[in-house]
Symmetry: C2
Subunit: 252 residues, 2 copies
């Protein structure tokens, strides 16, 4: 029965956002506190309904702007500044995932440089960056329960999928630069990899590898000394999106 418009089950379609950033050497996700039932008072991923004439990506970009003020990179134009990377993650449609009605949520993954603490969006009374380690390690225990608790709905699962996507994607793409400001040093980029993967990397091999991959980094000519020590060259992201050879996660 292909497409009988007169008799199809009614669905609500939402977008949920896994917004990741690196703050103080930790991978953090944006969560908002729910003001309504169900899961009132619990933390959840930001999201909302897709509008009637709105594309899915446009809905995700709109929600991202509402929650963070970030604009989205157009992947085709050389990114000027503090735009974010946005891509579709997966779709979650278990009939019981929302107790009130049938909701299909198209989750998106956004990667952003470190930002000032988020302003509360129009539709969320509280928002914060939380380390993903804390959000994902709630194995039924009571630790930090007041601080975080389990995320609402199936958002823990969605967050885990988003984090895994980010971890694997920075291996073979230049996406790690989306966590960095427009100009950054090799050391800053290395700390991004270390935070996302949760491992320590050899600074010397990392430097040789990352500067030797064509199209990954472009020197801007400037230097900085914001980390202490010898001044470091500043770079911006090069045109390459796929890294060849890839960066390899240790201990696989």
């Amino acid at each position: 029965m292909p497409y009988d418009p007169s008799a199809f089950p009614p669905f609500a379609v939402t977008v949920d956002l896994v917004v990741l950033t690196v703050r103080r050497d930790a991978l953090c996700a944006l969560v908002v506190r729910r003001g309504e039932q169900p899961f009132q008072g619990r933390w959840a991923l930001p999201g909302g309904f897709v509008r009637a004439e709105e594309d899915l990506t446009a809905a995700a970009a709109r929600e991202l702007a509402e929650e963070t003020g970030l604009c989205v990179h157009d992947p085709r134009s050389p990114a000027p500044g503090s735009g974010a990377h946005l891509e579709q993650l997966a779709t979650y449609g278990d009939p019981k995932r929302d107790p009130r009605m049938r909701v299909v949520s198209v989750a998106h993954l956004a990667l952003a440089p470190d930002l000032p603490p988020p302003r509360a969006g129009g539709d969320a009374n509280q928002a914060r960056w939380s380390p993903v380690g804390s959000l994902l390690s709630q194995q039924g225990g009571a630790r930090h329960e007041d601080q975080y608790g389990q995320l609402a709905f199936d958002h823990t699962r969605i967050l885990a999928d988003g984090v895994e996507r980010a971890r694997s994607k920075i291996e073979y793409s230049s996406l790690a630069t989306a966590f960095c400001p427009p100009e950054f040093t090799v050391g800053e980029l290395r700390r991004v990899y270390e935070a996302v993967w949760g491992v320590a990397l050899d600074p010397r091999n990392f430097h040789r590898k990352v500067t030797g991959t064509p199209g990954f980094l472009v020197p801007t000519g400037g230097t900085t000394t914001r980390q202490g020590g010898r001044p470091a060259q500043l770079f911006r992201a090069g045109g390459a999106t796929l890294l060849n050879p890839p960066m390899l996660r240790p201990e696989v």
Copy 2:
């Protein structure tokens, strides 16, 4: 406005299937001829509405069974025989992708061993395997137009995304075995890689690599001579799902 159940835009949700197999050394996709408007008479990917109390994956598995008779592997149980691999691909929700109404389609990717020509499903009056090269190379030209034409809706895009997913996923996972019968030779597995990637591989290096990757292949003890030449050992898929080291596509 998170979740106002009384006022959300109504959506129809469907699943579309990219079902791939390898036939006669070519990567082929399952297409069905549409019996209704719009795009009546054009080829399209199989698919249909998600039912009111049905999970997305269950809907995809149901459609797959209706079109091909295939059962889906449970990835957790050791796969006995000719089940298919099924995974979510991506979700397509452009407001204009269906001219009649707002339809969000959750596309799934299925990989199956070579099958007898498909029986027409209950909701499709014709079905066939077509080489993906023919389906994807319709650059506005008129060649093969009677045979294939452009796929209906945005299905060319969905198919292209599914093929690219399959091409990249057999690099770092053992998914290529999903294209093989329960027992197969190294040469047959190599022809799967060659068909999916569209390249020629060195049989000797391939053999050394694939038999040296732990957990990828398990010898069954039997041999076969169905390709002519010296009899080849028969294998079945091992327990490993992630290949380390990965198979690498040449010319990247």
